[in-house]
């Protein structure tokens, strides 16, 4: 049963049970929702300063909730451009299963690469964030 432990490692279990970045911002510049129609999972993101501060309300599985929380932590005080490159590196890591030093704690999700049907759970928060940043850009640009 080592493979189960690989997927649901301590950091994922911890962040899904006790997310550090859960909740809603009273004042926010942008928000976004993401839905997985396959399972009814839903995420609601609140952004300040082009994503440099993000909180999430997640209703979903451990993988999605942990991914959202680790994402919120990883993007803190980053520029939209840096966030985009993290997003790309994260998706690459999920494809290859190879941890990337640039991703830090996000590498905890590398085990998801072996569970094809669950990759969408890990990427849902990132897709929602990308959408919110795109809208922000259009609004400001």
């Amino acid at each position: 049963m080592t493979d189960i432990a690989e997927l649901y490692q301590a950091l994922i279990m911890d962040r899904s049970r006790k997310p550090r970045f859960a909740g809603r911002l009273e004042v926010f510049d942008a928000e976004a929702t993401g839905d997985n129609p396959m399972c009814g999972d839903r995420i609601h993101l609140f952004l300040q300063r082009d994503g440099a501060k993000v909180l999430h309300e997640s209703r979903g599985c451990a993988i999605m909730t942990a991914s959202a929380d680790l994402m919120a932590e990883a993007v803190a005080n980053k520029s939209p451009k840096e966030i985009q490159s993290l997003h790309e590196a994260f998706e690459d890591m999920l494809k290859t299963g190879k941890p990337d030093p640039a991703l830090g704690d996000l590498n905890a999700l590398s085990g998801v690469s072996e569970y094809r049907s669950r990759i969408r759970c890990a990427t849902l928060p990132w897709s929602a964030l990308a959408e919110a940043l795109k809208e922000e850009q259009q609004k400001n640009g």
Binding site: M1, D3, I4, L7, Y8, M13, R17, M38, C39, G40, D41, R42, R59, G60, C61, A62, I63, Y115, S117, R118, C121
Partner: protein, 415 residues
């Protein structure tokens, strides 16, 4: 062999030998397949019948004047007789082959819905319908101006007759379209009572038998069903073949659903006239091989017999309810009096997807998600559930394995 096994109404070890896939391993573990309600595994007899049709006796049906075509037409049409007797239909002409139960409901919604129903008429469904018995009626509503009403279910997961009564009160309802067994809650609906309820109020009834037909002997005449639909693939048959049963006088009056070859009496560039039912509703080359496979599946199930199937299922369901009830933090959805081997549940600390992934790693296949019944999920106040469902080949030991797997998940996810 355990005491439980000995009390099985049939030789389950022998049955399991009939299903080649049950020997497979998943992630290095013995496959425990508890997802038969999504699609059931296939016995050797079905596989062989389909291979035989392709190897020894194949040509297009209803067209050729040659030996192979006649032989294939005979085999194909023999399945129509088989299905008619399986459902106890009054005649073989009341059996229309479709791609699946979904297509059969669409056929009724398009053909009967647009010809027999008038704008202002109402169709009633229930809160526990599969999307297949919801979305076609929404499209009919939006395109044809009929009203779509939803009868409530009780918290136990049974149809609420008081709510049905309300929906029918103004006399506008012309069709009641409901499941015969919920694919989420496992509840049976009282088909005969529902049919007389509808008929007394001047409405027809369509029953979605996709789940029920696997577990119970269906007698469309005893039920007095106007329309009854099911799919082959849940009945241990192949995918790509489904059945619409409809009373002869209804089919006679219905226009075609799909048009093309095989469904016409005569064709000119100016005008075509329609063949009689059931050919009118079977445009184009049908799923010949799959239909022959369905015939073999019906033979297989009938040889075991529905009394034995029902007894086996009752035993498994009782056992599963007992095993699952002992898991702390596990919530079983619905507690209908009359229920079958489909059990949906949630766990307080683990999401359905996490449950399914973790069980899969132990070789146990269950379904997780909204089960194509999103509105029902809303009614039950959940976003998704895990679902275990049983078939002819399910062993009580497999349910014990599910219980052990869930207990392990509880440990991993425990508060």
């Amino acid at each position: 062999m355990s005491a439980a096994l000995k009390s099985m109404p049939f030789d389950i070890a022998k049955i399991r030998e009939d299903f080649p896939i049950l020997e497979r391993q998943v992630h290095g573990k013995k496959l425990v397949f508890l997802d038969s309600a999504a699609s059931a595994q296939k016995p050797r007899a079905v596989i062989d019948a389909m291979v035989h049709a392709m190897e020894a006796q194949y040509a297009n049906v209803h067209r050729g004047l040659h030996y192979m075509s006649e032989k294939t037409s005979d085999a194909y049409e023999a399945v129509r007789d088989k299905v008619a007797s399986f459902l106890n239909a009054a005649s073989r002409e009341e059996i229309v082959f479709t791609r699946n139960a979904t297509e059969a409901i669409n056929l009724v919604a398009y053909s009967y819905g647009r010809s027999a129903l008038r704008p202002g008429d109402a169709v009633v469904i229930s809160e526990m319908e599969h999307h297949a018995n919801l979305v076609p009626w929404q499209i009919l509503r939006d395109q044809h101006g009929v009203e779509l009403r939803v009868a409530k279910i009780t918290d136990a997961g049974e149809l609420d007759f008081a709510s049905l009564e309300e929906q029918f009160a103004d006399g506008k309802v012309k069709l009641l379209a409901v499941t015969h067994m919920s694919n989420v809650l496992g509840s049976y609906t009282p088909a005969e009572r529902l049919a007389s309820f509808a008929h007394e109020r001047g409405a027809k009834i369509l029953l979605d038998g996709a789940q029920a037909v696997v577990h119970r002997r269906i007698d469309v005449q005893a039920i007095d069903a106007d329309f009854y639909v099911f799919s082959g693939h849940k009945l241990y048959g192949p995918t790509g073949i489904g059945v619409l049963y409809a009373k002869a006088e209804l089919l006679e009056a219905m226009p075609p659903f799909l048009a093309g070859g095989d469904m016409i009496a005569s064709v000119s560039f100016a005008k075509s006239s329609w063949a009689k039912p059931p050919a009118r509703f079977e445009a184009g080359t049908p799923a010949i091989i799959e239909t022959i496979g369905l015939g073999a599946a019906i033979d297989y199930v009938q040889a075991i017999g529905f009394d034995a199937i029902a007894e086996h299922e009752r035993f498994l369901t009782d056992h599963a309810l007992a095993v699952l009830s002992e898991i702390e933090g596990l919530n079983i959805l619905g507690r209908a009096q009359d229920r079958g081997g489909v059990i949906s549940f949630t766990m307080s600390h683990a999401h359905a997807h996490d449950i399914a992934t973790l069980l899969d790693r132990q070789g146990i296949a269950v379904r997780a998600g909204h089960h194509c019944a999103e509105p029902l999920m809303g009614r039950l106040g959940v976003s998704s559930t895990a679902r275990a469902s049983f078939g002819l080949y399910t062993l009580p030991e497999e349910i014990d394995a599910l219980g052990a797997g869930l207990n392990r998940i509880k440990q991993i996810f425990g508060a």
